[in-house]
């Protein structure tokens, strides 16, 4: 049998399409079938996309997908399909879903670094301490004990502000 599309090569692919109640058979060569196939696969329904998305990430996400931010109205599913958050509040509302995502992206879920001065002295100190601890771990890894001792003293000094015995 010759391919019904190009009429040149032998038909090796046999498709059965059902549109409404009409059954339609098509006999195509491999090349022509491929172009037909891509046309078919291009149009998955929105529900298919959603289920695919959900299954891909995790079964537990079903619960997450129901979450909608009360402030900006963005749903977790919308966020996952566009990759953009709607408002600062989303970081709290979608926290459960965001944590593994951030871990994958940045290999971390805790900010280290600049703190806006209006965020308060305590927070600035907390962040400074965190940075010092990071550095301390690094210098221990490098076996730079002199630097490690320096850092340890600094950490004591900073955190000591809270102690009563000082």
């Amino acid at each position: 049998m010759k391919c019904e599309s190009c009429n040149k090569k032998y038909a090796t692919v046999h498709l059965t399409e059902i549109v409404g109640n009409v059954k339609k058979e098509r006999h195509l060569c491999e090349e022509c079938a491929q172009s037909v196939n891509t046309q078919i696969t291009k149009v998955p329904s929105p529900t298919e996309i959603l289920t695919n998305l959900i299954n891909q990430v995790a079964p537990g996400i079903n619960e997450l997908s129901k979450i909608v931010c009360p402030v900006c109205g963005l749903s977790y599913l919308e966020f996952r399909s566009h990759g953009r958050l709607g408002c600062p509040m989303d970081y709290t509302v979608f926290r459960k879903g965001l944590i593994p995502l951030l871990e994958k992206m940045h290999s971390s879920t805790q900010h280290v670094g600049k703190v806006p001065s209006r965020a308060g002295k305590e927070l600035i100190k907390k962040n400074e301490l965190m940075q010092l601890r990071n550095e301390l771990n690094k210098s221990i890894e490098k076996e730079d004990y002199e630097r490690a001792a320096e850092l340890r003293d600094k950490i004591y000094e900073l955190s000591g502000d809270n102690d009563e015995n000082k």
Partner: protein, 356 residues
């Protein structure tokens, strides 16, 4: 208000070709993403909120006294050629040029500093400098950020840091990038090795105009991918640590080319230089390639009658937006090819007559 055409005669300071490693490192750039607290991010903001944000940020930038020469341009009032021109100048991003409604950019005379308003995030501060100067660049941008922060309440959380519209920017909100000219590594096909080494450090390599743009003229941008979990200075140290290794690798590749195929290399460089001086039509892709070859030729002392600044500038001044601005009208691509060739010939003739 200033006119965009006032800019067309000169270029930004970051193209001077000065600073550490400036034979290979064209520029260092840092940008910070910031958002105003209690407002939705732009994708969820309505027209009224966008307008409020634009007005608020514009006023606060003025009050913050960032730089005395700072001026503000409303992008919705500009033609598409003018917006393209600003993209080519690295003053705004492509996304910002193509955005809609209320948005703008503030920049100062030397074009080192720009603040985009209502891009993907409410505020994007950017500082560029010539050569490998990330530490200095950080100092400048940190100061600007502090000044703005006194006027604007940023969206911030103690766990996630500066909150951004895209979670890939959250934390420091910082992207630090270095633009490198690596013709010899490209020619000897060692560039892949560099990419692999860089990727292992969590850094990414991009083309001249950032995300998703193609590499042309052997120009590459290396920047950090992660923004959470490492401090700004730690991120900068990682990048500054790897760049000297890449530049010395490039220098080694150049040396190898000279010792192994000096005649071919010199021929390539001189042919490129000749082409720039005589061609009547040059495409934007071709000129990148020619300028890249000549730039390397100048670095290697093969050509010595042209300044690095002139070459760096030509990379930008011969781009489509710039040519159309120069001519004061819209041009088709074949018209641009003619104007481009004419413009380069004129610039290089000036050098010839200066010598004579």
């Amino acid at each position: 208000m200033m006119k965009i055409s006032d800019l067309a005669d000169n270029t930004g300071e970051w193209l001077r070709g000065t600073g550490p490693e400036s034979d290979i490192v064209i520029s260092s750039r840092i940008r910070l993403a910031r958002n105003v607290a209690k407002y939705p991010f732009l994708s969820r903001a309505n027209v009224k909120q966008k307008k409020e944000l634009e007005e608020l940020i514009r006023t606060k930038i003025k009050e913050a006294d960032v730089d005395p020469t700072l001026c503000y341009v409303n992008l919705s009032e500009l033609s598409s050629v003018d917006r393209l021109f600003l993209v080519e100048r690295h003053l705004i991003s492509r996304e910002h040029a193509e955005g809609e409604k209320e948005r703008g950019v503030a920049f100062e005379k030397s074009e080192n500093i720009s603040v985009m308003v209502n891009e993907e995030d409410h505020i994007r501060i950017q500082v560029i400098r010539s050569g490998l100067e990330l530490k200095e660049t950080w100092k400048t941008i940190d100061t600007i950020d502090n000044k703005l922060e006194r006027k604007i309440n940023y969206a911030y959380s103690s766990q996630f840091g500066y909150l951004t519209a895209c979670p890939t920017n959250v934390g420091t909100g910082m992207r630090a990038s270095v633009m490198l000219h690596l013709p010899a590594l490209g020619m000897t096909h060692h560039i892949e090795k560099v990419f692999n080494a860089v990727m292992k450090l969590g850094l990414v390599v991009r083309g001249l105009y950032g995300e998703g743009t193609q590499v042309s003229g052997d120009l590459y941008q290396i920047s950090n991918q992660f923004t959470l979990g490492k401090s700004e200075t730690e991120i900068i140290e990682i990048i500054e640590g790897v760049i000297p290794r890449i530049t010395s690798y490039e220098r080694m590749a150049r040396k190898a080319l000279i010792s192994e195929s000096k005649d071919q290399l010199e021929d390539r460089v001189w042919r490129s230089y000749g082409m720039l001086k005589v061609a009547r039509m040059i495409t934007s892709e071709e000129i990148m390639h020619l300028l890249s070859q000549v730039r390397m030729g100048v670095n290697l002392g093969i050509i010595n009658d042209i300044e690095m600044k002139t070459l760096n500038e030509l990379f930008i001044l011969t781009l489509p937006g710039h040519l159309q601005k120069l001519e004061g009208r819209e041009l088709t691509s074949s018209q641009r090819n003619i104007i481009r060739a004419m413009y380069v010939r004129k610039r290089l003739e000036k050098i010839e007559t200066l010598k004579g």
